[in-house]
Symmetry: C2
Subunit: 247 residues, 2 copies
């Protein structure tokens, strides 16, 4: 069980319908369009609503709950090999792998971008990275209920599995080639490294190609969430305008 809070995250869990909610606590007097939509969805799905005072919500979660806290099943994880087996063998698909991203805000932001652009799945490490928990779930704005989360224990090994399934594996790396000149493969996996030190050596070596985002300003690097957004956007854009093989 875990707590989900904030209006958008709760609404997204309700809409996605992949995780069961047991109960929603709503602050007395709360109103507004999104609140009405949540109450309507909860009624349809027969989820009990309890109206409470604000301080009772404050006690339950530390973050900015916006008057709503829900209790639901923990985030669902899937198995990579099962996931790859059920993908159509040559269907275009983008995957994203998170290599030891430390900040749950960044994990959440990357999953949200993945959900926005329709990424097929996200590989997340079981250990050694920020847990896909409450913060990541909230920042992802519900994406963790839309993007299949593939829990892995060894990314270097998983890269081999993904390559065997016909994916080109692209590592985000400041010393890579410019993203500008990249011709996207219809089956691609993007690997994003940790905030401080980037990709680990073995992970980096296993990638088919390393790409960097070109920048001409005085700041040396982008936030990992911003960089991931640009990569994913580019991989998708190049399909839609036909500049490169369709993704």
């Amino acid at each position: 069980m875990e707590l989900i809070y904030g209006r958008q995250p709760i609404l997204e869990v309700l809409k996605a319908g992949r995780r069961k909610l047991n109960k929603i606590w709503v602050q007395d007097g709360l109103s507004g369009e999104m609140v009405r939509e949540i109450l309507q969805q909860a009624k349809t799905k027969e989820i009990p609503i309890e109206w409470v005072r604000q301080d009772q919500l404050d006690k339950r979660v530390q973050g900015h709950h916006q008057g709503m806290v829900a209790e639901g099943a923990a985030v669902l994880f899937h198995d990579l090999s099962g996931f790859l087996a059920q993908l159509a063998p040559t269907a275009p698909a983008i995957l994203v792998a998170l290599d030891e991203i430390q900040d749950p805000h960044n994990v959440g932001a990357i999953l949200r971008s993945a959900g926005f652009f329709g990424v097929a799945g996200a590989l997340v490490l079981k250990w050694r990275s920020a847990p896909v928990g409450e913060t990541a779930a909230r920042v992802s704005s519900g994406a963790i209920d839309h993007v299949p989360l593939l829990r892995i224990t060894n990314l270097a090994q998983s890269i081999l599995d993904v390559q065997a399934a016909g994916f080109e594996v692209i590592g985000a790396d400041m010393e890579g080639e410019s993203l500008e000149s990249h011709v996207a493969n219809p089956r691609s996996m993007l690997v994003m490294g940790s905030e401080g030190s980037g990709l680990r050596r073995l992970v980096r070596d296993r990638c088919d190609k390393l790409l960097r985002i070109p920048g001409s300003g005085k700041v040396g690097s982008l936030n990992v969430g911003a960089a991931a957004a640009i990569f994913i956007y580019e991989f998708c854009r190049r399909s839609s305008i036909g500049r490169a093989p369709v993704l």
Copy 2:
């Protein structure tokens, strides 16, 4: 005076040389390449270093200080009209305006992207938005010392001033045209709205054009920092590959 913490932020302040640092506290025994570079820079600039125990740093700041805290002058702000007056009249330039962004993480991430891509200046509201303080400075990874911060009090009015200086003002809006079809003006200002409710009506009405990032996934929106990164990247990219009038 304010405290700056974390290795990258302190190094960036030293490199930018726009803000004076009075002192740097360093945790006993700290080492590594970036630490050496900071100590070297501090020596050159005659900034006193004090070696302290970790708990003395923990007491000073709440965040993850990575063994280093500095005391320096507060962030510098500039005046918009003075800034516009000293810009070459037709020189290509990109500006970014933040309309009531609430989360300092997002402010910092947007400024970092602006600094990475070489944005000429960032308009920030004096009130009604997250302060450009410690969190934003840290998340920006030093960008607040590289990107001129233009403090304004009325964004709708400032848009008129920027338009009078020959800029096309682009609002980020879910109901705008697709970014795909946009031909960028060499002088453009991007306006990003708040996390919850987007651009305010008058600000929105004053924009020359509204643009959205096209996405085909199930999550309805991007994080504002991710969206800003994609917009700024696109405005810059289109200049470098000559698909559109040079920015």
